[in-house]
Amino acid sequence: MMTWPQRIVLLLLGLGILALTLELIRRRRLREEYAVLWVCTGIMILFFVVMPNVLFSVGAWLSLDHGVLMTFLCFLFLAAIVLHYSVVISRHSEREKHLAQELALMRDELEKLRAESRESPPPPAEPKPRPPALRT
């Protein structure tokens, strides 16, 4: 069973995580796509506060006592976060590579255009017609 102090601490923890996540999104410091895991975590904790027996029956089914079960859950959660970050990092390094290549190719293009324009200076611009006076 879960004692009341345990429940209160977990309740505060779950609410705290959710509030912090939402606040960070609201301030645009955290993008939604990366917040999903944190929101899920908060909801899971709240779920365990409300229905701790679900968790404990899973523990009993795996023959784990509460301490080991909690450690296991923490590990699972951290592994999920780290895996998620690895995916994000891979995506970002692919993008970074793409951007660096694009930048290098464009700088080359720019130098070529500059060299061309030095060789054949553009015809002198015609004097701009004066804008008609505004009539009000």
Binding site: K97, Q101, A104, R107
Partner: protein
């Protein structure tokens, strides 16, 4: 078309029957050797355009290459061999080259042998042609341990591709238009030579090896030192396996992005 199938060296791009050829030379701190490599290419393969990809070098690589007559593209950050080579393929793709070759900046590849790579591509017999040091016994100039390592990799790549490959680590290679387009959209990062063979195979392109003798390097160091040899082997084998398991990209989608 027929003239290009005769002997090297070609004098001009006219010999290529309208094909445009680009030689991509990835270079990271190769100032010692790059100038001579580029001059060799210009002299012995005048039918190609030479493009040096300066992968964020901290020495005079870019300046030396430009003075020797190469076109130079400077990457703003060091991307590693895969990213640098891919930049060259993207350049080839955007500028409508028909053939693109990879050529090491350290002087171990021979510009005179580029037509050997070009011939099967132009005859439409292959989409990727690799110059192999091991198709003829005299070709190899490498230590015993390195040759053994390459043989193990060759066995693995051959197994995956169901085709005999003798020199999967050779960076002396050329591709036709299909290969250019594939590599412009996806190219392996860490150990691109063996991995790209598997990649090409998975996308249904034809690979062919031709004999190619190589020289000892003129300057710089191999990216594979003796100490990390075993480590390298294990990682490359893993990478080949992973490459074999990856889903092929659909080119149209990639290009559209």
């Amino acid at each position: 078309m027929s003239s290009v199938l005769t002997d090297a060296p070609y004098r001009s791009t006219r010999d290529l029957a309208g094909h445009r050829a680009l030689v991509v030379v990835p270079a990271y701190n190769e100032a010692e050797a790059i100038g001579r490599t580029v001059r060799d290419l210009r002299r012995q393969a005048p039918w190609t355009d030479v493009l040096v990809i300066n992968d964020g070098s901290t020495d005079e690589t870019a300046e030396c290459a430009r003075r020797a007559g190469a076109k130079v593209i400077n990457l703003p950050v060091n991307l590693g061999i895969g990213g640098a080579v891919q930049t060259g393929y993207r350049y080839a793709c955007e500028n409508n080259y028909d053939l693109a070759f990879q050529f090491d900046g350290d002087g171990q590849h021979r510009a005179r042998r580029l037509p050997d790579l070009a011939r099967p591509l132009m005859a439409g017999e292959a989409d990727l042609v690799v110059g192999s040091r091991f198709l003829r016994p005299r070709g190899a100039t490498s230590s015993v341990s390195r040759v053994t390592g390459i043989k193990i990799l060759a066995a693995a790549v051959s197994l995956v591709m169901r085709q005999r490959i003798t020199d999967p680590t050779s960076g002396f290679r050329g591709v036709g238009r299909r290969g250019i387009e594939l590599f412009a959209s996806v190219y392996p990062q860490d150990y691109p030579e063996p991995e790209s063979l598997v990649l090409v195979h998975k996308h249904g392109l034809r690979v062919r090896e031709v004999p190619a003798a190589m020289r000892r390097r003129r300057g710089g160091a191999s990216s594979i030192g003796p100490w990390i040899g075993l480590h390298y082997m294990a990682k490359v084998l893993l990478a080949i396996l992973m490459e074999a398991l990856k889903a092929p990209v659909r080119l149209e989608e990639e290009v559209a992005q």
